[in-house]
């Protein structure tokens, strides 16, 4: 068949260059992925720890004699969680926290310090289940950077 021709040497050198470029790109991608994973692990650890602290202590209802009722949340403590998170999570890390009920209401309005909705490259979410006035609710804490 007539056509433009390559010698074996030219083809071999083109293949070698392609493989070198591919491996270099792959290595860069691996480094980027690892950095992204490490960042995610940090955010995930932060979100998980804050959620644990929230359901077991910060949001938990107290009895008259001071006993903590873990996982039973009190709406008057929602602002306490906001204050603690504002203290612990500082830019460039941002957070959003929301307590979803079986039906939409405004008792627990979403809190946050700038939002995770824009210009963020990594995010972790911790979801926990809490009790509030006869129903289970989902506490969702999202931390991003």
């Amino acid at each position: 068949m007539k056509g433009q021709l390559f010698t074996t040497d030219v083809l071999a050198s083109v293949l070698i260059v392609t493989i070198i470029i591919a491996f270099t790109t792959w290595e860069f991608e691996q480094v980027y992925n690892r950095a992204s994973d490490i960042q995610f692990e940090k955010l995930n650890s932060l979100a998980t720890d804050i959620a644990q602290m929230a359901v077991k202590n910060l949001l938990a209802t107290r009895t008259a004699n001071g006993v903590i009722l873990a996982n039973s949340v009190n709406e008057s403590r929602w602002n306490l969680l906001k204050a603690k998170m504002n203290e612990l999570i500082i830019p460039p890390v941002a957070y959003e926290a929301v307590l979803n009920g079986p039906t939409p209401d405004t008792t627990f309005s979403e809190i946050g310090n700038g939002g995770c909705s824009y210009a963020k490259t990594n995010a972790a979410v911790a979801r926990r289940i809490v009790y509030y006035y006869g129903a289970a609710r989902e506490l969702s804490i999202k931390v991003c950077s």
Binding site: M1, G3, Q4, L5, F6, T7, T8, D9, L11, V14, L15, T18, A22, T48, Q52, V55, L69, A70, N71, S72, N100, P102, A126, R127, R128, I129, V130, Y131, G134, A135, A136, R137, E138
Partner: protein
């Protein structure tokens, strides 16, 4: 120019396309193996469900989670076991007897 074995443009393009397809497949396969469930997360959710049920056994749980027998066919299950005191419990010989018993709570994603 040195004489050698000749390849047409078609053959060279075919090799390139094969390399591109192989590398794309490798990327897709690699991405699909990155996801994994953290068992600690499910264990903590099981603990949460146990606490919530201790306040209200009939409390309806959020839809993203299932419990107990609904998790029989689930791949990832979180579970906690608790010692509880009951004065109307049943011991190993099915005799009603007061004492400390083990209760468990299983959860999985719905």
């Amino acid at each position: 120019m040195r004489k050698g074995v000749f390849f047409t443009m078609d053959a060279a393009f075919a090799l390139y396309i094969s390399l591109l397809v192989m590398s794309t497949l490798m990327i897709i396969l690699e991405a699909s193996t990155n996801y994994s469930n953290d068992p600690t997360v499910l264990m903590r959710l099981a603990q949460d469900v146990y606490e919530v049920k201790s306040y209200d056994p009939a409390a309806r749980l959020p839809s993203f989670i299932k419990t107990d027998i609904d998790c029989n066919s689930a791949e990832d299950i979180g579970s906690v076991q608790k010692f509880v005191y009951s004065d109307i419990g049943v011991d190993a010989s099915w005799t009603t007897k007061a004492g400390v018993y083990v209760t468990s709570q299983k959860v999985c994603y719905g």
